[in-house]
Every structure is written in structure tokens, then in C-alpha cells.
């Protein structure tokens, strides 16, 4: 496509197409959208983050990432749609315009680019990173068990051949370390939202322990509103709660780390599940999934704007 208006959001795309889309969006909106390369993947691919900003310096910010598990294709596809939605709605949607008048939004669409490329070239079912594990023929680490929050505790595997292999140490994966470094250096991120698929859940910390966070009541209330707004569009039913109560014990997860860093509004989504396709959600479902998720994202972002801390 020559411009992002003609980009086909209703289909899945290769990593190269995602990178091209990002560059086009930046070129079309030079005073609003910029691309930051926060690091490199193990195989040397850029870790691109789109920054949506209406000005200011180091404003408080909202982080959104999609595709840390590479086979969850509807997440990267939704990320593309979110990027375009932010550009089209800014200036027309009063809520989003108000958010962007005070906050920046950072969006990492291909959070695990090596894994994503591998799902296109070699193994559609690949979930992890692509770094070899010394002493093992099994490749890759689960990048959502590699964060420094309960790392190594129950809820992740120590076996390199497992789909939930935590890695040799916290932040061993450059895809994780790059975000950690970015979040620390920015030091003003107020909401961190990590998007997965599939099982229709909205969750908040913790995943590695049963102890509720100090903000559990507020996080629960916001999740309830976000899910209600999401459901209002197509009737998609979500469950919500802390990770450990809603899904299972999972250690080394992204939002547990961000919460412990002081980012109160830390949430993770599991997107739509038709009950028939799992990770192979048909492309016809991309736009409805993104649309309904956007409503929940807006709820969280609006709450972040109205409840500064």
C-alpha cells in the first residue's frame, strides 16, 4: 500500500509488512508519530516502538505491547489497527484527544519479532524467542516468564524444551531487557498493558503470588468497567481478576514486574476466542477483536488520565 489508508487491516501480515506500515504511519504523521528503536532482537531485528505524542518532554505515558508470544497473530494484527485508530481518532474523539493532550502512548506491535518471523517462515505454532539454549537442542525462552518478578518461582519451567521456559536468568532475552531498560529510563510510565490471545480475560497483578496488590480494589473496578465496555460492542464475554486467581500461577510475567516498578495500572489481556480456532483466529475476526479491545483500552487509558499518581 502507498498509504496507511489502503493498508489491509482485515488480514494478517508479515513482519516486513508491519515494519513498512510503521514507517508509513510515521511518514504520514511526522508531528504526531515517531518510531523509537529500543533495541534488537536476538537475530538482530529492530525492536520498534511507535510513540504517539502531541508534545512536551517526557510526559507521563501509557505503554501497550502486542505479540510477545509470536503465534498469537490476532494481537499483532490488533496492534496495527490500534496504531491507525489513534491517528484517526486524535482530534475527533474527545476522550482520546484529552488523553493525548497530557499523556504519550507507546505501542510495540511486534514485541517478539524473531518469533513472529519464524511463525511465517517455519513454524506457525512458535511461541517463544529464537535464542538457542546452550546444552539443549531446544530453542527459545518464553518472554513472558523472563521478567524479574518472582523469576524462577513456580509458574514457569526450568526446562529449555518447555513452552514456558523461563530462561537462564531474568532479562536474559533482549526482547525483554530492551523494554525493561526503556521503562526504567523513561521513568514516567503510568499504565502498562500487555496483550495476548486467546481466552478472553483481562487481568492485573499478581501472577507469581497470591498476595493481592495494594491497589487490587481499584484495579478490579477498572477491569470491571473495561470488560463491560468491551462486551457492549459484540457481546464478547470476558473474565477478569488477578492473574493467579483468573488463570493460573505464572512467574516472571511482564505486568508483575511493571507493577513492582510502581506502574499502578498494569494490565494484561487475552483476546477473543471463538471456541473453534485458537491461535488460528480467522482474519475476518481481526477488526471486531480490535474494535472491542479498543473500548477496554480506552477505559484504562481514560482512568489513567483522570487518576494521576
Amino acid at each position: 500500500p502507498q498509504n496507511t489508508d489502503s493498508f489491509d487491516f482485515a488480514n494478517y501480515h508479515t513482519l516486513e509488512e508491519i515494519y513498512s506500515f510503521q514507517d508509513l504511519l510515521v511518514a504520514e504523521n511526522p508531528n504526531f508519530v515517531s518510531k523509537i528503536v529500543i533495541g534488537q532482537s536476538y537475530e538482530g531485528r529492530p525492536l520498534n516502538v511507535l510513540k504517539f505524542s502531541t508534545g512536551g518532554t517526557n510526559r507521563p505515558a501509557i505503554w501497550i505491547d502486542t505479540g510477545i508470544h509470536s503465534r498469537e497473530w490476532v494481537t499483532q494484527a490488533s496492534g496495527l489497527w490500534f496504531a491507525k485508530k489513534i491517528v484517526t481518532d486524535y482530534g475527533t474523539d474527545p476522550t482520546l484527544t484529552a488523553i493525548l493532550s497530557q499523556l504519550d502512548i507507546f505501542l510495540e506491535i511486534a514485541t517478539n519479532p524473531d518469533g513472529y518471523a519464524f511463525t511465517h517462515s517455519s513454524n506457525r505454532m512458535w511461541r517463544k524467542t529464537r535464542k538457542p539454549n546452550p546444552g539443549s537442542s531446544c530453542v527459545g525462552v518464553d518472554p513472558n516468564r523472563n521478567w524479574d518478578a518472582g523469576f524462577g518461582e513456580p509458574g514457569a519451567s526450568s526446562s529449555p524444551c518447555s513452552e514456558t521456559y523461563r530462561g537462564p536468568s531474568a532479562n536474559s532475552e533482549s526482547e525483554v531487557k530492551s523494554i525493561v531498560d526503556f521503562v526504567k529510563s523513561h521513568a514516567n510510565i503510568k499504565a502498562f498493558i500487555s496483550i495476548h490471545s486467546y481466552s478472553q480475560m483481562l487481568m492485573y497483578p499478581y501472577g507469581y503470588k497470591t498476595t493481592p496488590t495494594n491497589d487490587a480494589a481499584e484495579l478490579h473496578k477498572v477491569a470491571q468497567k473495561a470488560v463491560s465496555d468491551l462486551t457492549s460492542l459484540y457481546g464478547t464475554k470476558y473474565t477478569y481478576g488477578s492473574i493467579i486467581d483468573t488463570i493460573y500461577q505464572a512467574s516472571g510475567g511482564s505486568i508483575d514486574w511493571t507493577y513492582n516498578q510502581g506502574i499502578k495500572y498494569s494490565y494484561t489481556f487475552e483476546l477473543r476466542d471463538t471456541g473453534q480456532y485458537g491461535f488460528l483466529l480467522p482474519a475476518t475476526q481481526i477488526i471486531p477483536t480490535a474494535q472491542e479491545t479498543w473500548l477496554a483500552l480506552m477505559t484504562i487509558m481514560d482512568h489513567t488520565l483522570k487518576n494521576p499518581y
Binding site: P1, S159, C161, E163, G278, F279, L280
Partner: protein, 95 residues
């Protein structure tokens, strides 16, 4: 390119704590053969698992012996993957 001919995705719904524990045992017994798409949570919550064709009979036998109910969510994963590729390729032509 890895292919998945004959791989099925089974949806298992544990009806009590005993079944939950038996499915957990299955997961541990066959960790590197089975691919849990949707992991074990609580009673009544579905578990989706990709089962390669060479272990399909063993898994089904285990579930049936333990009276654990399951249904087939995806009959043949490769057929869906081929369809996905076809849709992607078709979408690229007009562009």
C-alpha cells in the same frame, strides 16, 4: 516448514478437582509432546491442547480411561493452516 498434518486440538473440560489433577498429570507426563494452547485453570474452564497424531491414541485412551470428557476443537490443524495461508496470499494479490 513444519507441518501439522493430523494434529488435533482437543478441548477438555475438567468437571471436578480429581479430573483437574489427572489432566495436570497428563501435562507433566507428556510435556514435550503436547502443546497446551489454553492451560489448566479451574474446574469447568476449558483446556485446549494440540495433540500430534503419533500420540493421539495414547492421549485419547488416557482421557477415556479416566472418564474425562473432551471434544475435538480442530480436526486437522494443517487444513486450517493451509486455509490461513491461502487467505493471506489471496489478500496480497490486489495489493
Amino acid at each position: 516448514k513444519v507441518t501439522f498434518e493430523g494434529h488435533k486440538v482437543l478441548r477438555i473440560v475438567p468437571k471436578d478437582e480429581v479430573q483437574l489433577s489427572l489432566i495436570k498429570d497428563l501435562e507433566e507426563m507428556m510435556e514435550f509432546e503436547l502443546d497446551f494452547w489454553r492451560g489448566l485453570t479451574t474446574v469447568s474452564n476449558p483446556v485446549d491442547v494440540r495433540v500430534p497424531s503419533h500420540v493421539l491414541n495414547s492421549v485419547k485412551d488416557y482421557l477415556e480411561t479416566q472418564n474425562i470428557e473432551y471434544s475435538t476443537m480442530i480436526e486437522d490443524l494443517q487444513i486450517l493452516l493451509d486455509m490461513e495461508q491461502k487467505v493471506m496470499a489471496g489478500a496480497r494479490v490486489p495489493q
